[in-house]
């Protein structure tokens, strides 16, 4: 450590140098002096000791463990929980931005009533009035009550909602949100039920794999578990003493996984499953590779003509043949069915077509998420889209007396307007929103009873997908509730006390008692502890419960199933009138729109387009030249179901016959950042209301569109205008020395 030189020393040096100069010729003892900041910047002053709380991230359904740094009662930083097996201390951008859900300036601060739906004129009410209104509404609706929650709902709250619904004689809560819909949760679960006899989400050991074929799975951005697969990708790419993993991405538009892929294949939208089947067929016919894999391929591969698939998909037959060879000879190959696979045709068959490749591979890197460690622990299951249609039908017919909407589900924003969900809402006498911020659905609600955000509330989550071992996350308040909000669990318990049918089903005093009762029943976990209090404390301290038994093997049993030949994709809209395919995707920052109210997310550049505060219609370079449009020109995108206007972003990594539009913006509510500062289209406007052929998924990937110029344009807020490190704009070619 160098000796510090203070001001006095400097004066002495000055004096000494004056003397030295006077003496002349004498060597100055110090050839140079140390310059230090005159005033110590505050980075060197520490303001107190931080307290860290372990909890669970709720920014997507995955359930990463977080630790939150709090100082003086303020939450100042969220980090990944280093002990948590899912994310190993890491966190994605959405998880990092969770603080801005807590400290959003536009949160609803107290319960309100809206006399005229959609008027946005709110009258403050007391919590007693709120409970009374909820109670009378539930009592009046009785079996005509409906509950709608998003996938990131706490297990105990879903449990309470279910018990309440059952006591009232109403159907169980519907778990549906755009994130799980576009990721294909329901179809993945249904396909695993069909293939392996168990309804569970699939898990993929990407970290162990050496060859991964990804069928439009954005596993580095917004698919099943962004952070887990991000961590896994690090090992997949560079691991000591092992080969660098090889990734082939089939997708019309390159997302993050496409950008990182060794081979990106711009296949025609909708042909992903066909390509998977062609690869299976080529393995069966090729004969190369291990005999057991070839035998399984001959058993499982449907009778598809690879040459025809090559023409349909636009992937050269030679590439298909080489990929089949790469896949079958790899040590641990994997195939990932992404969300776009589930957006058209028969989603379950399409997922199965891809999963068959994993069955052929017969490796241990692929399996099903384990069941909850206790039957009593409630785990949300993504509802098939067919159930959504049935509920909307019931609403329209006047069969729903009260609709309770919890969390980020936001059906008014998430469902295609062609479904006329708002009209159906008008037929429901009582609509209650529990979201801590006024979203598009809350605008059409009568009662807005804000719950606390996930950083202020209790809960547990059975992690799904979990990789090999059951995990139960704990969620605890890291700060005092900011506003006059009330936990929805407590609210339900209180309201139920006045309803004769429900009081017996919900006898608990408060939600914490419900939660502790459930957690106390867990078998001893890795963190041990004797007695319910110690186990509970360890559960909160470490942020999760993990079975002491350790991880189980991942390999699922392959049940018998006849291979189904997936038909060629069919699209809504005539190819002459609507010449372009529409490709909707969830961007990594905004995801399904729940990032739009957080400046850290909506004001950070999108990785591919570098655009902030906006979303665009992305058009391929040569197509843009043909259409005569360039960056910022506003175009009208018309589908058979609706139209949006959006500025153009000219993207290099896209098919020429495809228009890509990200979800996330186009908000009319959700606070100032989402609705006023940010601008962009909501692509769900262009989608039809139908389910796919299996009834599990919204058919969101089968629409054609046309593009017309409006003659107007806007300035794009894009970061690539900034000068990069190589002189020109960032938007230029990559320096060769990095390849």
């Amino acid at each position: 450590m160098g000796r510090r030189i203070g001001r006095r020393d400097l004066l002495k040096i000055g004096a000494a140098s004056a003397v030295a100069a006077a003496l002349g010729g004498c060597e100055f003892p110090r050839p140079w002096v140390t310059l230090e900041p005159h005033v110590r910047p505050p980075e060197e002053q520490t303001a107190g000791v931080a307290t860290w709380y372990a909890s669970t991230c709720r920014q997507c359904p995955a359930g990463c463990g977080i630790i939150v740094r709090t100082l003086n009662g303020r939450a100042v930083k969220i980090e990944g929980n280093p002990q948590h097996p899912l994310n190993e201390g890491k966190l994605c951008p959405r998880g990092q931005a969770g603080l801005q859900e807590l400290y959003n300036p536009d949160r609803l601060q107290a319960p309100v009533r809206q006399a005229v739906r959609g008027s946005r004129q709110y009258t403050a009410i007391t919590w007693d009035d709120a409970v009374a209104a909820l109670r009378s509404g539930l009592a009046a609706a009785g079996p005509r009550t409906a509950v709608w929650a998003d996938f990131a709902v706490s297990g105990h709250l879903l449990d309470l909602f279910s018990r309440l619904s059952a006591a009232l004689g109403a159907p169980p809560p519907l778990v549906f949100d755009l994130y799980t819909a576009l990721s294909g949760y329901a179809a993945l679960t249904a396909a695993d039920q069909a293939l392996f006899g168990r309804a569970a989400l699939p898990t993929y050991g990407v970290e162990e794999a050496d060859v991964v074929l990804s069928f439009a799975a954005d596993f580095l951005g917004t698919w099943l578990s962004t952070t887990h697969y991000g961590v896994a990708f690090g090992s997949f790419r560079q691991r000591p003493l092992a080969e660098r993993g090889y990734l082939a991405q089939f997708e019309p538009r390159s997302n993050l996984a496409g950008a990182k892929a060794d081979l990106w294949l711009r296949l025609q939208p909708g042909t992903e499953a066909l390509v998977a089947q062609a690869i299976a067929r080529l393995i069966a016919d090729g004969g190369a590779g291990p005999a057991d894999r070839v035998a399984r391929a001959q058993l499982w591969a449907p009778n598809v003509d690879p040459a025809a698939v090559a023409v349909q998909s636009g992937v050269p037959l030679e590439d298909l043949r080489r990929l089949a060879g790469t896949f079958v000879t790899a040590a641990r190959p994997l195939a990932l069915p992404g969300g776009a696979v589930t957006g058209h045709g028969n989603a379950v068959e399409q997922v199965a077509a891809v999963q068959v490749l994993n069955i052929i591979a017969g490796v241990t890197g692929f399996g099903l998420s384990p069941a909850p460690p206790l039957a009593d622990l409630v785990q949300p299951m993504a509802a098939p889209y067919g159930e959504v249609l049935r509920l909307v039908e019931r609403m329209r017919a006047g069969d729903v007396g009260a609709l309770l909407v919890w969390g980020t589900a936001n059906p008014v924003y998430a469902l295609p307007p062609s479904l006329s969900f708002v009209d159906a809402l008008q037929q429901v006498p009582l609509v209650v929103s529990f979201r801590p911020i006024v979203d598009e659905t809350a605008v059409w609600a009568d009662l807005l009873l804000p719950d606390r955000t996930y950083l202020e509330s209790w809960g547990y989550q059975v992690v799904a997908p979990s990789f090999g071992e059951p995990l139960v996350n704990s969620q605890q308040p890291v700060v005092q509730p900011l506003y006059d909000t009330r936990a929805t669990g407590d609210l339900l318990l209180e309201a139920a006390q006045g309803i004769s049918a429900a009081a017996a089903a919900l006898p608990c005093a408060n939600e914490l008692a419900v939660l502790r009762e459930r957690i106390a029943a867990l078998p001893p976990g890795t963190f041990g502890g004797v007695g319910a209090d110690v186990q509970w404390a360890r559960f909160l301290q470490h942020g999760f419960w993990q079975s002491a038994a350790g991880p189980a093997a991942l390999t699922p049993p392959a049940a018998g199933l006849q291979p189904v030949l997936v038909p060629a994709p069919s699209f809504q809209g005539d190819a002459g009138e609507f010449p372009f395919f529409l490709y909707i995707y969830m961007p990594v920052l905004l995801s399904d729109g729940r990032g739009a109210d957080k400046p850290w997310l909506v004001g950070s550049p999108d990785p591919m387009t570098t655009i902030m505060w906006q979303t665009c219609a992305e058009i391929e370079t040569n197509t843009a030249i043909k259409l005569g449009v360039t960056y910022g020109d506003i175009v009208r995108i018309t589908s058979p179901y609706g139209e949006v206007e959006a500025p153009v972003y000219v993207l290099n990594s896209l098919r020429p016959d495809t228009i890509a539009i990200p979800t996330g913006l186009g908000h009319s509510a959700l606070g100032r950042f989402a609705s006023r500062e940010a601008e962009g289209p909501n692509p769900m406007v262009l989608i039809g209301p139908q389910a796919d052929a299996s009834g599990t998924s919204l058919a969101w990937a089968n629409v054609r569109v046309r593009v017309t110029r409006t003659g107007r344009s806007v300035a794009l807020a894009k970061f690539e205008n900034t000068r990069g490190s190589y002189g020109g704009f960032i938007n230029q070619s990559f320096p060769d020395q990095y390849l």
Partner: protein, 240 residues
């Protein structure tokens, strides 16, 4: 008298371009840790966006082109071009931390340093930061909020380095290898970012760089001696 090379630590970052997925977790983590303001749309349209760490997006090939990501942040040069041009010594090479730091209360906003930085990683506060309440609650009390007219840039999370050093001092021990992690490195899901003391052979950066054929530094030919090493993208073994 010590020479600059006799500093105790050589804080170094390693960026593995083969692992970086461009997910922007580092960008958001940096905003959260260092109170970096988010610039609104009109400010971004004026090319005044502000991110201490940014993911530069380049293209390879003609359309259809593949995107390549390059995380870019202050390179903490040993011979930093931003330092000699500052008329008020606000851009200094801190002797104690052996880092290139900005002294905010000296800065008078000449922007000479910005002009002279070949990496374009210094950001000028053209506007006052804007945190509508209660977003002020998210601010990290360890880090100053900079006002308009001030130049700012990545500090390698110097507040974390200082905290760790103080903790080690109180506990009467040396810093453990990899005890200090900046916010970006801490959160990076694929561990594309590594941080540590290059003087300590046990640190992850020293191990990652030892004999690594993929390592290079950006614009090394300028002689700036950056403290950030990039590991270039690996070629896939194609078993076609």
């Amino acid at each position: 008298m010590v020479k600059p090379t006799e500093a105790q630590h050589k804080w170094t970052m390693v960026v593995d371009l083969d692992k970086c997925t461009g997910c922007h977790a580092c960008v958001v983590a940096c905003h959260a840790e260092n109170n970096v303001p988010i610039r609104n749309k009109s400010e971004v349209q004026a090319n005044r966006a502000q991110h201490w760490i940014r993911i530069e997006r380049y293209w390879t090939g003609d359309p259809p082109a593949i995107a390549r990501f390059l995380p870019m942040l202050c390179q903490h040069c040993n011979r930093a071009p931003c330092e000699p041009v500052c008329p008020v010594y606000a851009s200094v090479h801190s002797q104690r931390e052996n880092l290139n730091l900005q002294v905010y209360n000296r800065c008078v906003g000449t922007r000479y340093c910005n002009n002279n930085c070949p990496y374009v990683v210094r950001y000028f506060n053209f506007y006052d930061p804007y945190f509508p309440a209660p977003l002020t609650e998210q601010l990290n009390p360890d880090v100053t909020v900079r006002t308009a007219g001030i130049m700012e840039k990545c500090t390698f999370c110097v507040q974390r380095i200082n905290r760790a050093e103080q903790r080690a001092l109180v506990e009467g021990r040396d810093l453990a290898p990899d005890e200090v992690q900046p916010a970006c490195v801490q959160t990076c899901p694929p561990s594309a970012l590594l941080f540590g003391d290059l003087f300590n052979p046990e640190s992850r950066v020293a191990k990652a760089l030892a004999g690594n054929q993929r390592s290079l530094r950006v614009l090394e030919e300028l002689g700036t001696e950056p403290a950030i090493y990039y590991l270039k993208g690996g070629k896939s073994y194609v078993r076609f």
